[in-house]
């Protein structure tokens, strides 16, 4: 099948790729563009390990075609930190022990990053609802909730 050219902004940088129409966005990011922070966990859009930020919205990149991302703006976990250092959500996950094996963590972080823009001052219940598209097998979520709360505080103070 003929490959198609796609072009999008990934973590602030314009990138191009040739993709089969059927290629899943997560594979383009991981294989073609070699950003392996975005993980594949379930492939049926349940676990959220593949979550990326697409045009300002959290999406599961295992269920988006790369061709659909043409012309868009994407952010992955690799784009969270900037010259000023780690993003508040990254710092908070370390501080509150919000991760163990680390496999779900990139998806959690990129979702938390967007969630805190959607809801800068969430209650615990809102965090649990807002993060419910991401599964974790290690932490039992309790410390992730704390981490999101901590990050919210930091971001509010900034």
């Amino acid at each position: 099948m003929a490959k198609q050219h796609v072009s999008f902004k990934l973590n602030g940088k314009q990138v191009d790729a040739l993709v089969e129409p059927r290629e899943l966005l997560v594979h383009t990011i991981r294989e073609t563009l070699s950003l392996t922070g975005t993980h594949i966990g379930c492939e049926t859009s349940h676990c959220g390990a593949c979550t990326v930020d697409l045009d300002g919205k959290s999406v599961k990149s295992c269920t988006v075609l790369a061709v659909q991302a043409d012309g868009s703006e994407l952010k992955t976990v690799e784009g969270l930190a900037d010259a000023g250092g780690l993003h508040a959500v990254q710092k908070a996950f370390i501080e509150e022990h919000g991760l163990q094996c680390g496999f779900c963590t990139p998806g959690m972080l990129i979702r938390a990053y967007r969630f805190l823009q959607e809801n800068p001052n969430p209650t615990e219940e809102e965090i649990r609802w807002g993060m419910s598209g991401n599964l974790c097998r290690c932490t039992g979520y309790q410390n992730i909730v704390k981490a999101v709360q901590t990050a919210a505080k930091t971001l509010q103070q900034a």
Binding site: R22, S45, K57, K60, V64, Q68, M131, S132, G133
Partner: protein
């Protein structure tokens, strides 16, 4: 889990999409993709052509036309949740959308895709039945309108004709004296409903002028529990009547047994969800 090969086409307008559906055999429309792509990854669906309708602006947006809310078929679940028009004039839809899947999926999944896909587990078909919605369908022969009631014919089977596209969903504004309720039971976030029931009640004083009780995932398609509605219509609804109606809901169910439950459980849950929704709707209608 990798989809089979297909050709990808971007539709630029509704007319273009219809033309492309006609031009490519066995083509499928790609809306949010969260029903279709998983099926393609499992290779249960292998359409040779996908027509992406995400770029069609005229399929998006929510607007108020008199007493009718017009919702573009490509409006996402999260757009429904955040729509002020809906929050004000049709909170039932907001409530239902909040309980669909999870936040990421709600960013992609569209109301039109949910309605047109044909999975009895999808939430919006029953909501549309309860709201007495009308669907605007465009096809090679032009535009037609079809009431939600009668649109859903079976599992993966509805009244959408060949090369036709669901363009817009029209629901009446919920007015004073009209109440709604939405109850849904699911095993966990991201799962289909064990049973769900949206209910809309119109009161005339204390008397139930009209009522629509719809059910999710307890039959080959979304259904209305008409016998239950008939028990309540024209009456002053009390607990005893609600119990009679719940019994009729139970009788109307024809669910498939699966890991969510057997026929008995699912039917009882549908009755319970209806019971809860009727109570909530009543409370609201009474103001």
């Amino acid at each position: 889990m990798i989809p089979s090969e297909f050709e990808y086409h971007k539709a630029t307008s509704i007319q273009d999409a219809i033309a492309q559906l006609g031009a490519h055999e066995d083509a499928k429309l790609l809306a949010g993709g969260h029903s279709l792509l998983p099926m393609m990854k499992l290779r249960f669906a292998e359409p040779p052509h996908l027509i992406d309708i995400n770029g069609i602006e005229e399929l998006r947006g929510i607007r108020l036309e008199g007493d009718t809310i017009c919702i573009g078929a490509m409006t996402t679940e999260n757009e429904l949740i955040h729509s002020e028009i809906l929050q004000q004039h049709c909170p039932l839809l907001v409530e239902a959308a909040r309980l669909v899947a999870d936040p990421q999926v709600r960013n992609r999944g569209t109301i039109g895709g949910d309605v047109a896909h044909g999975d009895p587990g999808n939430d919006h078909p029953a909501v549309m039945l309860a709201l007495d919605a009308t669907f605007v369908l465009h096809g090679p022969g032009g535009e037609r309108q079809q009431a939600a009631n009668g649109f859903f014919l079976g599992t993966y089977w509805n009244d959408l004709q060949e090369h036709e596209i669901l363009v817009e969903l029209r629901v009446p504004v919920i007015k004073k004296g009209v109440g709604h309720g939405y109850s849904k039971l699911k095993r966990k976030t991201g799962d289909y409903a064990v049973a769900g029931s949206p209910v809309v009640i119109e009161l005339d004083g204390e008397v139930c002028r009209d009522i629509r009780i719809a059910l999710t995932n307890v039959a080959p398609m979304a259904i209305r529990a008409e016998a239950a509605e008939n028990i309540l219509r024209g009456k002053v609804i009390d607990d005893a009547l609600i119990e009679q109606a719940a019994a009729e809901v139970l009788a109307a169910c024809d669910p498939a047994e699966d890991l969510r439950g057997d026929v008995l459980y699912k039917s009882h849950m549908a009755a319970e969800m209806a019971r809860r929704s009727i109570r909530a709707a009543l409370l609201q209608a009474r103001g």
